[in-house]
């Protein structure tokens, strides 16, 4: 579904922040993306949600080479991707309902369908009672759930989350990870960028490990090794 081949990325005339990245994400895969600070996680995420285009190599997404896709085609690809940002990036002047409704409005869905879908998804993330609340009066966990609801409402084929549990307490973090696993079971491919070793060990999915712009794919850790480590 998604294939990166010998991808490199540099900003302007600076050094390459990503060097020769090659990996494939199959439909329904669940991967953690990890690595030390400055390893290039955010840059790789930007390539995945097409906020950046590679300076070399090829990126295939949903059967299209994004490096040669037209602007309109890239917009269509983006509509199949849901993104959860570390800092949530909710629009402060919109209610939780309207924030969640954004992707469907962009897709041009009918108001009646948007209303039903938003109600359903906000119930799913446990925010049915906060539909009309603006982000400023929601807690960090609630805002994160609104951001997740917004990312998944368009039924994306790929969900990207950047440190989705970084600012949350453990209980809320685990609850949100469970939501991602539910989505993954429904066929959504998921990539979560995180530093949280405990979380990665607990949910134990393959890891894309970035270090100094280079990527290594690690399979899930065997359960015995995990037990020994803890």
């Amino acid at each position: 579904m998604i294939t990166f081949e010998h991808v490199g990325l540099r900003y302007n005339i600076g050094p390459e922040v990503l060097t020769d990245i090659t990996f494939t994400l199959e439909q329904g895969a669940f991967h953690f993306l990890s690595g030390p600070s400055g390893a290039g996680k955010t840059s790789l995420m930007k390539l995945l949600y097409l906020s950046q285009l590679p300076t070399r190599g090829s990126v295939q997404m949903f059967g299209q080479d994004v490096t040669i896709a037209t602007r309109a085609q890239r917009m269509m690809i983006r509509q199949r991707i849901g993104v959860v940002f570390q800092e949530f990036r909710l629009l402060p002047h919109l209610s939780a309902f309207d924030n969640v409704a954004l992707p469907l409005r962009i897709m041009g869905r009918k108001p009646h369908d948007i209303k039903n879908a938003c109600r359903e998804i906000l119930e799913w993330v446990g925010l049915a009672d906060h539909m009309h609340a603006r982000p400023e009066i929601l807690s960090g966990g609630q805002q994160q759930r609104v951001a997740i609801a917004r990312a998944v409402i368009g039924k994306p084929r790929l969900l990207l989350a950047d440190e989705p549990t970084g600012s949350l307490d453990d209980a809320t973090g685990y609850r949100i990870m469970s939501l991602f696993e539910q989505l993954n079971r429904m066929g959504t491919t998921i990539v979560i960028a995180t530093h949280n070793q405990q979380m990665m060990d607990h949910f134990n999915h393959p890891r894309l490990m970035l270090d100094k712009g280079n990527l290594a794919v690690q399979p899930p850790t065997p359960k015995a090794a995990l037990k020994a480590a803890h």
Binding site: S51, R71, G154
Partner: protein, 302 residues
């Protein structure tokens, strides 16, 4: 449940910017309306001047005869009457009027001062002729021949040179007024473009977010266009009404001061149509400018 779809971008939140642009558009549209009103007055003035002069001819029977002798007032009168009779028979002439001595005295008054009562002063005889076909050069030529037949030293003047100068002058005034209207409209559009650019910069992160969600440039551009149509349209309408009120007030004051010099401004359908064009033009061009600015800026975003 929300019934009205809110704008994705909080573009209306920028109160100071909105007020400033609104004020600029109101002022500029009011000025453009005044300039347009000025253009209409000049146009009407030109039509009235041209209407008064065009189609008229003046025949002058000079005091000095061909042999250099000064003719008596009485003999001039006889020649003038002969001239009038000859011209009256011409089928291309609508009317012939022999100007009285007092009419001629009034005409020379600006140059010679008050000459009323100075019967000794030799003054030429003048005949005002109204033509049936003002632009018929052949008819005018034939009239000139008739004039020369009656009195070889008499001259006929169609005022074409003066009329041409007048037309040129009024055209310059008209162009200046329209140029001023265009300049004020352009200022208005430039301020809208500046405001749009400022908002694009201020909402860059939110626009980037909409892009990430797959929003097309047209979708985002539409939000700016809706805002421009709403705010600029309203401001342009207010400005036009303000300009019309100023024009009406100015017209009343000018009418009281010097009614004879300027023709009264006519609030007819044409004038109202021109004034309606003003806000429509400002709004339409601002919309296009805003859309162009937004799309050009978005095109360089990933």
């Amino acid at each position: 449940m929300a019934t009205k779809k809110p704008a994705d971008l909080a573009l209306e939140k920028d109160d100071v910017g909105t007020k400033f642009v609104t004020l600029v558009v109101i002022m500029m549209t009011a000025l453009a309306t005044l300039a347009m009103g000025g253009a209409l007055v000049v146009h009407s003035l030109r039509a009235s001047w041209v209407g008064e002069v065009s189609g008229h001819m003046t025949i002058e029977i000079p005091v000095t005869a061909a042999d250099g002798t000064v003719r008596e007032t009485e003999s001039l009168g006889i020649i003038a009457e002969q001239m009038r009779d000859a011209l009256s028979k011409d089928i291309d002439i609508d009317s012939v009027r022999l100007m009285s001595r007092s009419d001629v005295e009034k005409l020379v008054q600006p140059w010679l001062g008050d000459v009323a009562g100075t019967a000794d002063l030799p003054l030429p005889a003048l005949i005002a002729v109204r033509l049936k076909h003002p632009n018929d050069a052949q008819a005018i030529g034939e009239i000139a021949q008739t004039v020369k037949r009656v009195d070889p030293v008499a001259t006929s003047e169609t005022h074409q040179a003066w009329l041409a100068d007048l037309k040129r002058f009024s055209l310059v005034l008209l162009m200046a007024a329209l140029l001023m209207a265009a300049a004020t409209i352009a200022c208005s559009i430039l301020s809208v473009t500046g405001a749009v650019k400022a908002r694009l910069a201020a909402h860059h992160a939110d626009i980037d977010l909409l892009h990430v969600m797959g929003a097309t440039d047209n979708y985002i551009g539409g939000q700016f266009v809706r805002l421009v149509v709403k705010n600029v349209g309203r401001a342009a309408l207010i400005g036009t009404v303000a300009g019309m009120i100023a024009l009406k007030t100015g017209g009343l004051v000018a009418g009281e001061l010097q009614a004879a010099m300027l023709p009264a401004f006519r609030w007819d359908f044409t004038a109202l149509l021109w004034f309606a064009v003003c806000p429509a033009l400002v709004t339409g061009l601002s919309l296009l400018a805003a859309r162009f600015t937004v799309l050009r800026t978005l095109a360089v975003m990933p």
